[in-house]
Symmetry: C3
Subunit: 209 residues, 3 copies
């Protein structure tokens, strides 16, 4: 039973990693003359960046992708898929949005769960969950000279932190792990969908420019 | 007695972290349309970036802010304070300069001290002190597409490294911890103040542009 | 005998570090008004960035340059040499190319070897070797607002990953360490030289711009 949970968690994490690689590779094609190595590298960094940073901050070694080459294979598969289905994916912005949203929901919940499992305080664990989800994309944006995704007014990382807070609250209430996982993930997906459909945006801070 | 020293050190570190959050949040408001999440994120990264990098390089786990949620609360408080006192802070550039200078002086000395306590060689410990003070700002500048603060001709990180060198020299001479702390910190503050008042700048390297 | 191998490996690593510092410092001089501190900082980051990232990802502590100040001295020496021989080095682009190529070949092989020694799977070990060689330059490029070197169409990081793959394949075949070291290094140097001489470039991915 316990083994099944671990297996499902690992499966989710590998799936999420592969998807982030697709999303990273597609972003890299916005570059003027993308070549295979650069696209692969960006896909790779996007996929492993958030989880690696979380684990390095937590001192939780070995990193999942360092210990288990299946993460690497999932990433390479994702990048080849991005190439093969490129014309199709470019025509389906909503599909991409869906995958990306599922990806950040999954990584937020897995990251929060991992930090709680290591005995980290709830407020910090929620930060770690959000980091897992968004930092791969932030590193990708820095490397490709784009405005980091977290600074868009669109509700993105905020959805992750809210989902992570829901997770830690449910956890404190003693709710079961599977319920926390599904509810927190659903919160993230619903906020993202609502934000895009109703064009919700975050309140602004005064600007000094 | 020993507990008091640890308490004071922790108090200084939490205070410095809160201040760096204020400084980071105010920098983020130079962005075209700053929204709350982005400003908070930048404040957070500025506050914990330097110390986290130092501790990850040293392999010194757990990181202070991961183990102790008071750092997170100090950061959130700093960001709220930045918002509440925004009009006032914008009118007081010297106050900001003062806080920033106290912040880098504090972090340089605490970082150098920590590295020495871990048995690191003095030259490397001085680097770690400087890293603690400036790397949060460097990461902030990279994320917000600004010229990293360390490349200005103004004497900034150089003041930190000189202060750190003073600390390790005093330490080698067997001077007491409190004396080293105050003298090294004072050196950093004085160099910064002198650099700004007398418009001191670093000598340049040949430029190939 | 075993001590000799370790000594030679350490010597290579310190030499490579010093050279990367020269290369980083010279890149920094393309900045509009380079000043000494900034140039030194960039030289330092270029020299220790790749190896530090590899070791932090592997959880392999202490980092070489943190434990052994000779790395720091090699870096400072490299930066002084970059200044003293500046006019000469600017006239010798081929010499620079040669040193850079030797540097990445050396770091790729040393990094792959280190990861294998820690029991990392071959595919991941090859990635770590490539990271050791190129990430210092990537961090340098991000800090100085340049297009990261890995996104040029020129074959650069690709040469490293191919050399690392050669290393792990030879290792699997049971070939001796010295042979693996020399052959894999030679592959990297030859690919780089051939790429530049025959203007080889990587195939491109579709571009969405």
């Amino acid at each position: 039973m316990s083994i099944d949970v671990v297996d499902i968690q690992l499966l989710f994490e590998i799936l999420g990693t592969g998807f982030f690689a697709i999303s990273g590779a597609l972003r890299a094609t916005r570059h003027a003359r993308p070549e295979w190595f650069g696209v692969t590298f960006i896909g790779f960094i996007t996929a492993i960046g958030g989880g690696s940073l979380r684990d390095m901050l937590l001192g939780s070694y070995p990193l999942a992708w360092v210990a288990d080459p299946r993460f690497l294979y999932a990433i390479l598969l994702g990048i080849v898929a991005a190439r093969v289905f490129y014309p199709l994916l470019m025509k389906l912005p909503r599909t991409l949005f869906l995958f990306d949203t599922l990806g950040i929901a999954l990584f937020t919940v897995l990251g929060t769960e991992k930090a709680i499992g290591l005995g980290i305080e709830p407020a910090v664990a929620a930060m770690m969950g959000m980091f897992s989800a968004v930092m791969g994309g932030v590193i990708r944006d820095v490397l490709t000279h784009r405005e980091p995704v977290i600074f868009g007014r669109e509700i993105y990382a905020t959805a992750c932190i809210l989902g992570a807070v829901v997770y830690v609250l449910l956890e404190q209430l003693g709710s079961s792990r599977a319920v926390n996982f599904c509810l927190a993930g659903a919160v993230i997906v619903m906020i993202r969908v609502a934000a895009v459909r109703y064009k919700l945006a975050l309140p602004t801070f005064p600007s000094s420019t």
